[in-house]
């Protein structure tokens, strides 16, 4: 039996918002930061049948994408606070800061 490991940040987000929103958020964060991992996240979205350039998203997913691309925007921060509970917001901030 393997030794206990704490779930990583991505795995901690999934129970709150599901795999799809986490995948969209991960791509938006990596893309906004110009990170190499953006290509990997993009490929994962394409493999899941999404169009990364024009995803069909819910309002909450769009908020996550917009916030990922401009986390300092006050109005997005307010909408984030109104939409998601405090533990989730803490995880989102930690995930975005990686």
């Amino acid at each position: 039996m393997t030794e206990a490991e704490s779930p990583d940040l991505r795995d901690q987000l999934v129970p709150f918002i599901g795999e799809r929103a986490v995948a969209l958020l991960s791509y938006a964060l990596a893309d906004a930061a110009g990170a190499e991992s953006a290509a990997e996240f993009r490929d994962a979205l394409v493999a899941a049948g999404e169009d990364p350039d024009n995803p069909q998203v819910t309002e909450a997913e769009q908020l996550l994408i917009d916030w990922a691309r401009d986390p300092s925007d006050k109005s997005l921060q307010q909408r984030l606070a109104a939409t998601f509970n405090a533990p989730l917001r803490g995880l989102l901030a930690e995930y975005a800061a990686r």
């Binding site: 393997t2 206990a4 490991e5 779930p7 709150f16 599901g18 509970n85 405090a86």
Partner: protein
Amino acid sequence: MRTPVISSLRPSTGQVRVKVSAIGLSALGAQVAGTVDSVGPETNGFARGDRVAYPTARPTGADRAIVDQGELIGIPADVSLDAAACLFPCAMLARTVVKQLHNVGRGDRVRVVDEPVVGPFLRAWAEHLGSTVVNEDADVVLTADDIRSARALRPSHGLRQQNAADVFAAIRSGAFDGIAVSSLDEARHGARTPVLLRPAEVTLAA
């Protein structure tokens, strides 16, 4: 026997519709796992295609269910819907006992009450955390009272999701691979382990 179909129902504000794949039954109640196939207005995260689990007092056997989003737990891609339905409730309760009530850790000698449903999950968690399960000279004893205390706790929405991530990590690592899951037929013959049902079997199980 025909399975009730309610796929024409539309989720309203804050609700999603779930295509039901698996139902886990245990002494703790029923846990449903499936895939979101429609979302109502003002849902904040889950979308079509997401794999989710939720508890229910009375599984209906319908192939779709309308569920409040606050009840949902997102299931990671590498955890099966069957495991989420069957293992999750007992694993979550056992986690509360070993981590919140007792803080079991590496090197502890742990004795576990002989309880048929949650007991195996307590043993699995204890070993997963690096402790040794013993029959005597224990540092920590996990009792039926602990199980009752854990059942009485009602974690907040955010805490439940955070604990769920920990449970999924344990499932993913194989912590509960040794725990048997029963079919409907085995349950009828007295099996006490969690039972895995498909929606069509719910009416047969009633």
